[in-house]
Amino acid sequence: MKTIRRGALLLAAALLSIGCRRPQERPAPPAQAAALRVAHATGPIKPDGEANEPDWNAIATRTGHFVDARGQEAIPYSEARFMWDATNLYVYLYAADNDILAHVKQHDGPVWIDDAFALHIRPATADGGVGPTYSFDVNPAGTVTDARVAPGGKPDVSWESGIKLGVDLDGTLNDSTGQDDEEWVIEAAIPLASMGLAAAPGTRFYVDVGRCDTPRRTKERRCGAWGTPGAQKLLELGP
């Protein structure tokens, strides 16, 4: 039964990937395409959720306002920012949220049923071939499900990225009675090597990132993403 449950979980994750148009099913854009440069951090980044290093505002690569499936600015507001250094890819995830909800506390659990971000990273190959996708789902409780998805394969949640993250909550987790909830921020450091990415200028990879939320006093699921949901952006580590 345990095996069946696990299989069902993986199946659900796989279907989610299909349903949410996650990247592994899409043909890879050519690696020669124009890439968005990711800035190299000028100083240490502490992934504590505060995101108070000046680089986050000054030089980080920004997605801007996530958009919904109609291409309109998604409400509630979400955005992501990226930087890197000799060890890590740093990711800042911002979520405006009037009812911060996260019930999944178990690592590699079904984080995506909460208010959560979904980040997918796939190393670009020189020939434009399809490589593995590394997926990260994270909720405002700081719970992470990280998985490696081989081309045509199932998510392997036994893969561990070594991600370190901090969460800053401006509000109260799982308290829908008040009006204190404003936003939550994830500040994460993902080891580049864990994804087979060289920590060097010119390294390219594809990214898609989105977020779903259930606003206060609703049961409606509202989602937004960087550009077209599921569409990948080509990033390149800058000098």
Binding site: L11, W56, N57, D68, R70, N98, I113, C212, R221, P229
Partner: protein, 342 residues
């Protein structure tokens, strides 16, 4: 076992539908966007506290000292018909992110308010004009960006203080003698936003009265994040002055109970007539007719509800009720509409 598999597959598929419902089938929910349909909710005589009727005679001094009818000054003024705009919460997502200040949104909002016909005689703003390190250097450029955008509106604006004019924490309490003292954000708010009004304390009031003497209105601008006993006594005293309409404006709504003023104000407000509590803090628009509270927090800060950026215009009706129209800032269409007795 086979059925179990089938069930699990079905359940997994259901999870997909739930988890992704917003990505592919997101249609207008009667809120923001180009479809901007108008929903009218008429609520009259809801609260028993709205019985302030004997106030007209006490308003004459305020009327006579306020100058030309139709022009509202820092102390108030007289109008044929009460009309004002409400704009709230304008700040970037991240602290000190001045480059990410929502200048475009707030500029458009003020341009919209200016272009409204008839143009509101004045505006009130519900706080949070910055997100800056409370002891840093980004407060002033962010407030400058706000005030530059606000220049698009040619009439007077009355601001209240938000938690980001203190330390940023909802529970923060600034001002002399208070826990968080004098922050740079507080100092700049006082000098740049209240200074031009001549206010020396973070809380103040003004009156707007009918030119025909038929109605009076007081606006009590509370500094919830600079709360002390002196302000509590001031508020109680101001509320005791009889007027036809009583508007209390502060940053945090009634459910933001960690804000310093919210709990102590509950008992103060309950013993006086109240037309409407106007607040922000939550980055959306909400109207609670029964609780007599309006939240206007969708003025450029990262949206947290389901409505687009926008603003409200309140307009007195011939029967004395007040209509509150919430507008989408891009379409200028009324998204939500409420009517409430005095």
């Amino acid at each position: 076992m086979k059925y179990l598999h089938a069930f699990l597959v079905a359940a997994a598929a259901a999870v997909v539908v739930v988890a992704c419902a917003g990505t592919g089938n997101e249609t207008s929910s009667g809120t923001a966007g180009s479809t901007a349909s108008s929903t009218t909710t008429t609520v009259e005589s809801v609260a028993s506290s709205s019985s302030s009727t004997a106030a007209t005679s006490s308003s004459t001094s305020a009327s006579s000292s306020s100058g030309m009818p139709g022009v509202i000054k820092p102390t108030g003024g007289t109008l044929d018909t009460l009309s004002f705009a409400v704009v709230g919460d304008t700040r970037p997502p991240n602290e000190d992110d001045t480059g990410g200040y929502p200048t475009g949104v707030i500029t458009k909002i003020w341009q919209d308010v200016e272009a409204a016909s008839p143009r509101p005689a004045f505006a009130i703003t519900t706080g949070d004009y910055q997100y800056a390190n409370p002891y840093g250097v980004q407060s002033k450029p962010q407030l400058t960006a706000y005030l530059t955008a606000r220049q698009a509106f040619s009439n007077i604006v009355f601001p209240v203080m938000g938690n980001h004019e203190c330390t940023g924490y909802t529970a923060s309490n600034c001002g002399p003698g208070n826990t968080d003292g004098i922050t740079t954000n507080y100092t700049n708010f006082m000098s740049m936003m209240l200074g031009p009004l001549g206010a020396t304390a973070p809380y103040y009031s003004f009156e707007v009265n009918g030119t025909n003497g038929a109605w009076t209105a007081k606006f009590l601008m509370v500094a919830c994040n600079a709360w002390d006993q002196t302000q509590a006594q001031w508020l109680d005293g101001e509320l005791a002055k009889a007027t036809t309409y009583t508007f209390v404006v502060r940053h945090e709504g009634v459910d933001a109970t960690t804000a310093p003023c919210v709990t102590p104000m509950t008992s103060i407000l309950s013993s006086h007539p109240l037309t409407l509590l106007i607040a922000g803090h939550t980055h959306t628009f909400e109207f609670d007719a029964q609780g007599r509270q309006m939240i206007v927090g969708n003025g450029g800060a990262p949206l947290s509800g389901h409505l687009n950026y926008g603003y409200v215009i309140a307009s007195q009706q011939p029967n004395g009720t007040i209509t509150y129209n919430e507008y989408d800032y891009m379409t200028n269409q009324v998204v939500l509409n409420y009517n409430l007795s005095k």
